[in-house]
């Protein structure tokens, strides 16, 4: 079943933060993807609690997961605990940002 988690992570890489110009996985907004009682759960955050683009990201993440989840129920949870920090950006993301 870890295959579906990998596919979910790949699918979430198609969701772009329009301000950062990075996908939400490389931006470090996806805290966790796991199967809980047969349910695919993605735990995500935004760069700030007041991020106006946050709801759009969730909508797109839902669409991305729907494409790979098949019959598996899924859920997106939003958390601000812990808050996002730039250290969460992946090496690929840093490279894209010119770090």
């Amino acid at each position: 079943m870890s295959d579906i988690v990998d596919r979910a992570r790949d699918a979430l890489k198609s969701v772009m933060d329009p301000e950062a110009g990075l996908n939400i996985v490389d931006l470090g907004l996806v805290y966790d993807i796991a199967l809980e009682d047969g349910r695919l759960v993605a735990l995500i955050t935004f760069t700030t609690e007041a991020c106006p683009v946050g709801p759009r990201l969730v909508e797109e993440a839902e669409q991305a997961l729907a494409a790979v989840a098949g019959a598996v129920p899924f859920e997106i949870r939003v958390t601000f605990d812990p808050p996002w920090t730039p250290e969460r950006i992946t090496p690929d993301g840093r490279a894209l940002l010119g770090q």
């Binding site: 969701v15 772009m16 329009p18 301000e19 950062a20 110009g21 349910r39 760069t47 700030t48 609690e49 007041a50 991020c51 106006p52 683009v53 946050g54 709801p55 759009r56 969730v58 909508e59 797109e60 839902e62 669409q63 729907a66 989840a69 129920p73 899924f74 859920e75 997106i76 949870r77 939003v78 958390t79 808050p83 920090t85 730039p86 950006i89 840093r94 940002l97 010119g98 770090q99």
Partner: protein, 427 residues
């Protein structure tokens, strides 16, 4: 499709979606600000001979000044606050129609008021004043209602409360000044005028600028959020400085005024330290030309307070009010707002160009660099030229600076209209 089952997440998401206003609401205010920005610089050309020796009172300069303060500053502040405050407070606006109505009251009111006080036409001035004040008060009520229901982001909320309180005080003092013009009811007209100006510059606009910076600067720079505790400490100094400044102005007590400026400087030192830390830790190294404007604005903010303190203590020899106005209103506020608008407008356009099954276009794809480059050079030439023209009492330099500013404002309008056109064409 499955929906979030977690109650907290579902509640947050439902609220967040409803907090996104229709594009027409914030963009009408930003469009109004773009229009009045151009009108302001053309007004500088028109009123140039009177600008270097300006003292508070009706006439061309005061009219041009209100094109800037109400037309550019208040309009930008309302557009940003109506869109961003509900996101920060996690509460939707109570209703959208008042946010639309404010523009219908404010914009015609500004035009009538400016024409009335420039040409000493009492009825247009009074009608424009009433319309503008009604728009400002309605905006204040709408924002206060949202702040009263706020959940979270204390650093933004406390700044918002003082900004809204200042807004009501500005309107009340402005009304007193208008009545005094005709009936002579005030013992100290200059003191009330100074308090009105302090509340407008550092109270309403200043508090909103500081508060929203704690969200916008980290967001644009991909930086960690500044410490809330440190932001609240900066706020405490800022609020104390504002109160002292207003009391000192009303009572005509230079020492209290200077103490207010000193407290304001402490607030700014803390604020800029937090901004510098965010900038240093940011992951997006290239912030673009907009942050050149923002950095220059940050430098002008403490300079304006130092000049204000020197003026209060009678240690500044000449043309204090005009120089202070140029430094605080143009060097700091206008430069800061235009820098931020260069980021906010494409960001909003990106959000509103997306829809169900349609990803938002990248913000960078909606921004035209060429007009912003032209604007930047013209803006710097205009502001430095204006300050030099005031300092040297050279009306011709002021006039040429106004023309440069108008060219820059036209370039900014080109950027704004171009961004909206790209938003509409977005695939």
């Amino acid at each position: 499709m499955n929906r979030p089952a977690n109650p907290a997440a579902a509640s947050f998401l439902g609220g967040a979606k409803s907090r996104l206003l229709p594009a027409s609401i914030p963009l009408r205010y930003f469009g109004g600000a773009v229009f009045f920005h151009l009108a302001f610089w053309l007004g500088v050309v028109w009123a140039a001979p009177e600008i270097p020796n300006f003292a508070i009172g009706p006439g061309r300069v005061l009219a041009v000044l209100h094109l800037l303060t109400l037309g550019v500053f208040a309009a930008t502040a309302f557009g940003a606050a109506f869109q961003l405050l509900p996101v920060a407070t996690k509460q939707p606006l109570r209703a959208e129609w008042p946010a639309r109505l404010v523009a219908w009251l404010l914009f015609p009111g500004i035009v009538l008021f400016a024409v009335g006080i420039a040409e000493t036409l009492h009825i247009p001035a009074a009608l424009g004043g009433v319309l503008s004040a009604a728009g400002v008060m309605l905006a204040g009520v709408l924002l206060a209602d949202n702040l009263a229901r706020a959940r979270g982001m204390a650093s933004v909320v406390v700044h918002g409360w003082v900004a809204v309180a200042s807004l009501f005080a500005i309107a009340a003092l402005g009304f007193l000044l208008v009545v005094d013009q005709h009936h002579g009811i005030l013992a100290s007209r200059n003191g009330i005028g100074a308090a009105h100006a302090i509340l407008a510059v550092y109270g309403f606009m200043g508090m909103l600028a500081l508060g929203f910076s704690y969200v916008l600067v980290p967001m644009f720079g991909l930086a960690p959020a500044p410490s809330t505790r440190a932001a609240l400490a900066s706020f405490a100094f800022a609020a104390a400085g504002l109160a002292l400044g207003v009391i000192g102005a009303v009572l005509a007590q230079p020492v209290i005024l200077a103490a207010g400026a000193a407290a304001g400087l402490c607030a700014i030192a803390l604020h800029l330290r937090l901004m510098a830390a965010a900038m240093q830790a940011r992951m997006r190294k290239r912030l673009g030309p907009s942050f050149v404007l923002v950095r220059i604005a940050w430098a002008c903010l403490p300079l304006s307070l130092i000049l204000g303190a020197l003026m209060a203590l009678d240690l500044w020899p000449w043309r204090g009010p005009a120089l202070f106005g140029a430094l605080a209103l143009l060097g700091w506020l206008l430069t800061f707002l235009l820098g931020m608008l260069q980021r906010i407008v494409p960001f909003l356009a990106s959000m509103h160009a997306s829809g169900p099954g349609r990803a938002p276009p990248l913000v960078s794809s909606l921004t035209a660099e060429r007009p912003l480059e032209i604007h930047r050079y013209c803006h710097f030439a205009a502001v430095t030229g204006l300050i030099a023209g005031i300092a040297g009492d050279w009306p011709l330099v002021v006039q040429i600076s106004g023309a440069a500013g108008a060219a820059g404002a036209a370039a900014f309008a080109w950027f704004f209209i171009g961004t909206l056109a790209r938003m509409r064409r977005a695939p």
